[in-house]
């Protein structure tokens, strides 16, 4: 990992540890106060507990021009970003995505779309609806590996993370603690319920929390739609296309809308936020990811809207290309942050359990 990022985070963490004014903002501070000296692993763990709400920055009496020049959100973001590159499997893919995420996302989507387009034109599958242009089995043959590879890659990354932060053998109660903290998004309320300082300097707002929620639930609904459709296909032998009032459609439509709107709002917020408080040089990766995710939602909706028109095959190719790109890029994109955060919260729960003992 980049030592200058670690050194800077260590310097700042030591100042915070002598100050402690931000104790109530998020789980970073109680974890920080539990240490007197910070190993690289400690800093990695702190960095992954931080979700860049910026509350501590605007409340800090030591930000530049003060000579202590505190900017904890950025210091932690740099370590965090760096840790994801470090733990990514394969490593080179992680680095590449942080640097030029927007371009990679675009290229991947187009590449896959072309590929799928080619397959569409080569084989007319003789099914109905979408399957008229792409056989169900072909789709499975493409998507199953694209789904399994990221899982494998993430598993390796999380194992690396777990080792790096020095966490012990996993217990069920730790997992429960981690999931509980993630599920109620305790840390996103800013410690006082007013939200974070993302969009307009020191003003607290729920904007980012709501946008984040919309993206997450939108994604989960879309995922559920696909899963339900798969089950219907295999177990009940009910094949697509499904009518509007069917479960896959209802889940998919609401999810697609939430996902698309959430991503648009996320991008708007990111454009308003001060880039100096985020990781340096990761803008492309972050925008690339949100844009890709939003495009998955948008192209899904478009596919639904244009399903009865001659544009359908093109839209299908684009949407499937986007989904495929999204899955394959997951371990290297911001999507992975959810997994790391869960790991960090779980490790945090474990630490608390050990302290309580």
């Amino acid at each position: 990992m980049q030592t200058e990022f670690l050194e800077e985070a260590r310097r700042q963490a030591e100042i915070c540890n002598a100050c402690r004014y931000c104790e109530g903002y998020c789980s970073v501070f109680p974890a920080l106060h539990a240490e007197r000296a910070f190993s690289d692993g400690d800093l990695t763990q702190l960095a992954n507990l931080c979700h860049n709400c910026r509350g501590c920055y605007y409340a800090c009496q030591y930000t530049a021009p003060h000579e202590f020049a505190l900017n904890l959100p950025q210091a932690l973001a740099n370590v965090r970003q760096d840790s994801w590159e470090e733990f990514a499997f394969p490593r080179a893919a992680g680095q590449a995505f942080q640097k030029s995420g927007l371009r990679i996302a675009l290229a991947t989507v187009l590449g896959f779309a072309l590929l799928i387009w080619a397959m569409l034109s080569l084989a007319s599958a003789g099914g109905e609806g979408f399957y008229a242009v792409l056989a169900h089995n072909t789709m499975v043959a493409i998507f199953l590996p694209a789904f399994l590879f990221p899982l494998l890659s993430l598993a390796i990354s999380l194992r690396r993370y777990w080792r790096a932060v020095g966490a012990g053998p996993l217990r069920f109660s730790d997992l429960r603690g981690g999931f509980a903290a993630a599920a109620n998004m305790r840390n996103l309320n800013g410690g006082h319920g007013d939200g974070c300082n993302f969009e307009d300097e020191d003003r607290f707002s729920q904007g980012r929390r709501f946008a984040h929620q919309a993206v997450m639930y939108g994604f989960l609904l879309c995922f559920a739609a696909t899963s339900v459709a798969t089950l219907m296909h295999y177990l009940l032998d009910l094949r697509a296309p499904y009518p509007l009032w069917s479960l896959p459609k209802l889940l998919g439509l609401s999810g697609g809308l939430l996902l698309t709107l959430g991503c648009i709002e996320m991008i708007r917020l990111k454009l308003r936020a001060d880039p100096e408080l985020g990781a340096s040089g990761a803008t492309s990766g972050e925008f690339g990811f949100v844009a890709l995710l939003g495009f998955v939602g948008l192209s899904g909706l478009a596919l639904y809207g244009l399903g009865q028109t001659p544009l359908m095959p093109a839209m299908l190719a684009l949407h499937l290309g986007a989904v495929l790109a999204f899955f394959l890029l997951t371990p290297f994109s911001k999507m992975a942050h959810g997994f790391y955060r869960l790991a960090a919260l779980t490790a945090d729960a474990q630490k608390k359990r050990e302290v309580a003992r």
């Binding site: 030591e14 100042i15 540890n17 002598a18 100050c19 402690r20 004014y21 931000c22 104790e23 109530g24 903002y25 109680p30 106060h33 007197r36 509350g55 501590c56 605007y58 409340a59 800090c60 009496q61 030591y62 930000t63 530049a64 021009p65 003060h66 000579e67 202590f68 410690g191 006082h192 007013d194 020191d202 003003r203």
Partner: protein, 464 residues
């Protein structure tokens, strides 16, 4: 000279807690308010942005506060630290009003946090700001601006012209220009004079040039001096200031809270000649904390050196600068610029005077003391023997000064016995009216909040 326009009803001088409480209250009463803050925006909020808590009376659990803290108990605590040097009427007013302040603060955007792990003893008496004083100041600026209060940064007031018991105009400089306004009412909330080291040196002697200023460099007492010159009634003693011993490597200004050192009770403290000069085990924090500022100020070059050994390193709050570390006392002395032989001798003498240490208890007065040396160490006296050895340098850090403007229960200033009809003062600049000496943690913000609100209300009533 330019005339600023449009003319406000009320000018509030300063941009810290007291000023903001006054401005918000006046704006809510319908007045057009202008805040003149000497600092640029990133440094707005004066000493208030370094604060952490607010001492509050309460008859039952209130907000983050547990149990109850009565007027009598609060007053007794104040009497103890001031040695009775307080105006009891104003003190009771501040204490009694503090109870309604807390909900008012919450309603105006201030957020509190559950008490800090390290300071549980204050959970009953003091409410801690979430994010500290800068969080509070930010919330107040948002609230004030939403109420239409106009804020001018880098606007340093230089003069208030008083004619016939009335402030007729105010001069301030901004962007290299001098501007003049003639508001109907004026609230002074520009803090003390501790950042003017020349003034400190006039009051204290040349030693004061070596003091560090814990808070803002902008509280230079310009308005205070201007008003005192025009015979506005003064209160407090110019030679008094609240000073503590802080890390000698702290910045000259604005080091804030992180430069405090909590290690003195577990140490010996020597001067630059390597000699001990005071009982390091006299009392627990925070009393001990406050006396050491003066003790160090009285030593040659106004410096002190704390020496501890490995067994004490984790007994106190982490400090912002790492300690100086060495394997032998002689090496430590060399690294710290102390005479090695004298330091070794001082430590040997101290160690020999230590007795049974089995009763050592880091968090209470444990009576583990020395015998046969002067000065003695009356608690936590354990020999300094276990390498590595650690050292910190100490300097005097000034928190605030006591000299200020005398006010009545309506926060109004006066000349002789006659009130200045449109001049009010709030916060540190009039705190001497209540706090003659000593300090009670969290009381500065109480005075600022209570008298800021009173001043804002009175100023608005006068302007309407």
């Amino acid at each position: 000279m330019t005339l600023a326009s449009p003319q406000p009803d009320i000018a509030v001088i300063g941009g810290g807690n007291a000023a903001l409480c006054a401005a918000i209250t006046a704006a809510e009463a319908g007045a057009r308010v202008l805040i003149l803050e000497a600092a640029p925006k990133p440094y707005r909020g004066g000493n208030s942005r370094h604060t952490r808590n607010f001492r509050c009376m309460h008859r039952g659990p209130l907000g983050p506060l547990t149990d109850s803290y009565t007027e009598e108990e609060y007053l007794a605590d104040l009497m103890k630290v001031t040695g009775g040097k307080t105006d009891e009427g104003l003190a009771r007013l501040a204490i009694r009003s503090s109870e309604e302040c807390l909900p008012w603060m919450e309603a105006h955007g201030v957020r509190f946090q559950p008490s800090l792990s390290g300071t549980l003893s204050l959970a009953r008496t003091n409410a801690f700001f979430l994010g500290g004083g800068k969080g509070l100041v930010n919330a107040y600026y948002r609230t004030a601006e939403a109420l239409g209060v106009q804020v001018e940064y880098e606007a340093a007031v230089t003069h208030l012209e008083i004619h016939d018991d009335r402030v007729t105009h105010i001069d301030y400089t901004q962007n290299g220009e001098t501007r003049r306004i003639s508001p109907k009412s004026v609230v002074v909330a520009s803090g003390g004079f501790q950042a003017d080291t020349d003034w400190l040196a006039r009051a204290w002697g040349p030693a004061a040039k070596n003091f560090l200023i814990r808070g803002t460099p902008y509280n230079r007492g310009v308005v205070l001096a201007d008003l005192l010159e025009q015979k506005v009634e003064q209160v407090g003693d110019p030679t008094q200031c609240h000073a503590v011993a802080i890390d000698g490597r702290a910045p000259k200004f604005d080091g804030g809270i992180v430069t405090r050192l909590d290690c003195v009770p577990f140490s010996i403290v020597v001067n630059k000649n390597g000699e001990r000069f005071y009982d390091e085990g006299e009392d627990v924090w925070p009393k001990r904390y406050a006396i050491w500022g003066r003790l160090v100020a009285a030593q040659p070059d106004q410096v002190g050196y704390v020496i501890i050994d490995a067994k004490s390193l984790e007994l106190f709050m982490p400090s912002v600068f790492p300690p100086i570390k060495a394997d032998t006392l002689e090496d430590l002395a060399t690294k710290m610029g102390l005479p090695p032989a004298v330091l070794a001798e001082t430590v040997a003498e101290f160690n020999a005077a230590c007795g049974d240490t089995s009763g050592f208890h880091p968090t209470e007065l444990d009576g583990v003391s020395t015998t046969g040396i002067t000065p003695p160490k009356t608690n936590w006296a354990r020999p300094i023997t276990e390498p590595p050895f650690y050292g910190y340098s100490l300097r005097t850090g000034v928190t605030f000064t006591y000299l200020g403007l005398k006010v009545d229960e309506r926060a109004q200033c006066s000349i002789g016995n006659r009130p200045v009809s449109n001049l009010w003062a709030a916060g540190e600049t009039m705190a001497g009216s209540i706090l003659g000496q000593g300090y009670l943690a969290g009381f500065g913000m109480t005075i600022g909040t209570v008298f800021g609100r009173i001043a804002g209300k009175e100023a608005a009533a006068h302007a309407n």
